[in-house]
Symmetry: D2
Subunit: 381 residues, 4 copies
């Protein structure tokens, strides 16, 4: 089979620093390499093994209102059903070749469901979550457990769980989906399976609290019938009321002199798996950050990438050389090892507190599990 193969390898003997002299013999050697599907390190090392991560991705911001308008148009033009599976529209990083990748590892999409619509049941090894920046009425059925979704709620779902969505409200609803699709695509780990064609009537009820919340939604309490560590969290809904209270408490404790915030005026909580205290999903970290009115954050960079969505308030975000004003719903991506800093800049239309609320997700668990995590904070405060 290798006889007829046209080698994709292309090598050029060039007169460049750190390269061997471009003789005819070298050119001949390179032809041999090409024929035998070989590539020398010395022509590639600068790109392959840089002094620090140089992301192929760019920092970028997407405006929520524009996304929502396009999603709404899709709501009227594109049906949801078997095959297409979801009316999800993904962020494509400007420098990743038009692929639906927010970063080299993360997928972020707006999903849109019309009144009465169902998104069909399926399961996949990709780890996923939903985060709701506005609206309500949809619930997600995970393993036959209907889980309501409301503004501020974070709904993680570990790989290989059956799930479907249903919009029980009289208005369309949008939310964002985060998955590790690019990571699993790159490492070639993924499995996918179609589920039942329709969800049952029992699953269409709208419970105030899902089964998962009733079993796992009490702080520090584990059901003895369900012990054992699971790689993904069994808690399917992290309610806004708890997140909001935790952030507010951190700022109040800071005001009382308790060391509770990440830095001055910067409260943050991490969503965790109650069975092991680790991240909610094996490959995805999710956090909520609140920057108090007028506060800013010290520039900080990390290996791995993050996507943020503004939940409330307004501010100015700087990532590497780029900077944007952001407001409710806007999304932005922070590539690996690019420094991020944020300033909270309350505008007239913002809520009373004037704080900038940011939902964040990242690929940090991958880096931590594999001993590849590195962080650098510029000490400016």
């Amino acid at each position: 089979m290798t006889a007829e193969l046209t080698s994709p390898v292309r090598l050029r003997a060039t007169d460049a620093p750190d390269q061997p002299a471009p003789t005819e013999e070298l050119a001949d050697l390179y032809r041999g390499f090409e024929k035998e599907l070989l590539v020398p390190l010395w022509t590639e090392i600068g790109d392959l093994m840089p002094p620090h991560p140089r992301s192929k991705a760019m920092p970028h911001r997407w405006e929520w209102r524009t996304l929502l308008t396009l999603a709404d148009r899709a709501g009227h033009l594109v049906p949801v059903g078997r095959g297409g599976e979801r009316r999800a529209i993904a962020l494509a990083n400007p420098s990743l070749g038009g692929k639906p990748y927010a970063s080299p590892t993360l997928w972020a999409a707006i999903q849109y469901l019309m009144p009465g619509e169902d998104a069909p049941e399926h399961r996949h090894t990709q780890n996923a979550f939903r985060f709701v920046v506005e609206g309500e009425g949809v619930w997600t059925v995970v393993g036959r457990d209907p889980v309501p979704m409301r503004r501020g709620d974070f709904l993680p779902q570990a790989g290989w769980n059956w799930h479907a969505h249903h919009n029980a409200a009289s208005r369309p609803m949008a939310w964002i989906d985060g998955l590790d699709i690019p990571f699993q695509y790159g490492t070639e780990a993924q499995f996918f399976e179609f589920g039942r064609d329709a969800i049952s009537d029992e699953e269409r009820v709208t419970p105030e609290r899902s089964r998962s919340e009733r079993l796992w939604g009490n702080p520090g309490l584990a059901p003895v019938s369900r012990l054992g560590r699971t790689p993904g969290t069994p808690l399917l809904r992290y309610r806004w009321e708890h997140t909001d209270r935790a952030l507010q408490d951190q700022l109040e404790l800071e005001a009382q002199g308790v060391d509770a915030t990440l830095e001055r005026g910067h409260a943050a909580v991490r969503f965790t798996n109650p069975t092991n205290g680790a991240d909610v999903l094996p490959t995805i970290r999710a956090e909520f950050h609140r920057i108090a009115r007028g506060a800013d954050t010290a520039p900080r960079r990390e290996t791995g990438s993050s996507v943020y969505q503004v939940f409330d308030g307004s501010g100015r975000v700087t990532v590497g050389d780029l900077s944007w004003t952001v407001t409710r719903g806007d999304l932005f991506v922070v590539p690996s090892w690019q420094p991020l800093s944020v300033t909270s800049e309350a505008s007239a239309s913002d809520s009373d507190s004037g704080a900038l609320d940011l939902f964040r997700f990242s690929d940090a668990p991958i880096f931590e599990a594999l001993n590849l995590s590195r962080t650098e904070t510029e000490e400016t405060h």
Copy 2:
């Protein structure tokens, strides 16, 4: 020094099964063993290495009303202060030689504080918790964080944390303390240190929610400023309202056909450390069990011992060959490998639900950490 030592070893050459013939030579050998501080296995193996655990402890029940009466008398006779440290009165298992041990590893005591009294600050490596079967008004100051205590609350405290108590109410208050004192005494692990002579005025306030609850008391949320696994839980109060709701939810889910309870009519939650999902304390497990009206539990035995307190309701408890009727506040101990079964028997004076609510603590984490855990359930249902 060994010359004048009188050996404590005493050996007798006897005419017994599995023993060498009691000759003069053997007696002489035994004298040699005694002199040299030696003991043969063959005279001891029956006791030392039994086919299964035969606890030195007995099953026993203590009646709460009696305990409370004696504690109240102590409240009027025995001051609390430096030296004595606590007005705590411990359960002494009837077959452990009058030592203040509920079981060979566990300490359980009623603690009693008069209005306005303080119990002085100290710290110790012994892991501890408080559980409140009735009353309120006392709070515990742990690391300068005042933590209120109310009926049904569970308040764990890992070793080596500074702590003191203060009764801000106008009535005495009693609660139970559980510690691993016998275990640490037996293994000789323990350290103890006196703290400040008085707690400050700032620590005498009565906050509705402690700092620890504000940082750690939201389901699945960890403060990013306090990441990292800790051997003991950072959450200092597990509120009754959450425990109660979790148990009720399990029974309701069971009624809906969801596999949520431990066995039919038997709901149970375990108190866990949110930083790692493990037990709240490195040596102590704590759980809350609710046996629905009329339900009973299958006889079950485990390596290691437990102490139970009836929180509400009435019932019949059988441990090995003993059996008692129990009601609110009563305590009982289950020695290692003794089978326990419980029947909920609502009496006229019990709450509407008729359920039997049991708080339980045990030494199970020791056995699990050391690969010594074993459990046997008689399948009767």
Copy 3:
């Protein structure tokens, strides 16, 4: 900045199954998506979320003799020094666009050092190892510890350790390097640093046993001065004499009726980190397999990819639809979820035992750490 950006996104409204009807409105919507850097899931799901991994990589075999000939020519034409760093020539999978990737996650290269040459000191976060299929005389200086390399030796080296090579022999020497370069490139985790310009005379000695072997090379013994788990192994050389003996012992034990082999006639050892019993490197698994004369292995597929090198013997290898005869030194790659089976076919020139000896490395620790590991074995025996 986004104004002048030409979007890389290209979408086509087509008349295809599972796609919305290709109306003008849809085309207009797609233009909007392109402009706003958005990509819908429904056009991509087939490729992005397949029913099982469909590797971009192909199975492929490289013949050692051809590689060695080209490496030798490079030895005479291409200097080793600062900038190029190593005379390493990497396998380029035929369907990965000419990139120096054996698989989407793994780098495998032949490295070649002329008599007396040094490869300069550097360090990088990429995890690496060397495996020696023939020759001797080179040693690797890791953290100033000179480690000899001989036929059959496996020499792992966790990320961020300083290292250099030196050929003290009078003949060139070749070996293979394995690294996680593609994985770290894809996730953008990598750091690299140049070391000293020259290694010292003390480091040029040729010790029979390296410091690391003297500290860590005794079975089950850890130096008390160096306790603590490390993500990569502290043992820098796994000697052939141990590997060979372990494989031979497994086959002999199998013959005695002990369950010691992986399957009939198939012995296998995994190289492990003595500080934690896990894989030698956080991202790379390494194993040695011996297929007894005439034995074959059941077809088996796994998530993740592997590279094999024939250490000794001959055989027939089948990966998916491709099949090759292999002999000493030949390398082949098994992409994710492609079934592999191997038959040992002794030829006249093979060693007495007639066994087929295979060195293998893979990205399995990545998949196991992230709960993405799956394996399927066809039961044919």
Copy 4:
């Protein structure tokens, strides 16, 4: 049942510091406590919760020659067989009431087997090991795998494995046994089961290398057929030749300026479980220490107790207030939190190296697993 119980509790109202005034009312209260099986903390706290561990055990040394003489006499008087199970004679700490406990957690015994004798098969949850200070010819059959025992060998055996001994030599053989019998007795964890009445002829062979060594006895190599972490080590023999070489290498590396020893002139290795890098047994740590001729060790104390046996050389040992000269075979015990220091004092009869070689075992894994470990070293060097 409680009615007729005579309480073992005895309390005295005394005129002592930190005690309530000894009034008649107090005496009456104490009678109430006794009747109800209660003990107050304030009378017990000084003993129960001391400022640091005050061991009930004493430091003590046993002379090997005396032990051996008595064991030999037992060899002629006491048969080995079902019921007595083993001709093992345990060290009884002088201040532990004549119990066969070297310390509150550890059992140490000399075991003696006559030529041709068998010790019958049994299993127990107690973790055990054998260490051979002199002689050879016995092997232990663990799970039907005969394991030879020679001078310097360490042979661990995790709980619940079937095992028997057989002396194939023409002379008696002695060795020491270490177990966690007192710990498991105190926590009431133990199970015991009798095995077959006789071991088979196949098990009476004398292999040079046991199955367990052939599978697990190569540094850093794990059999792929036996993966998975096990709480106890699968390697049943740690050979003297490896231990000796590792210690000698540490001292040689120290001489070359490498940081390899624990302190100047003090080499030490820990026996570890290759499946997880942890201690060989869940409750027992085993180490080998070599103190170079003329070197001494800094006083050091730890929570938990240790037993040492002199393997070779002579020296002076100080534990707390006691001090002894020790020579080959002598055993001594170091109680919890008692400082130990050792000086190597070569005598004319000692080996050429003049080093003092010490085998040590301790209960440290219990303390580390439960977050109770503490160490203090007096910095004298």
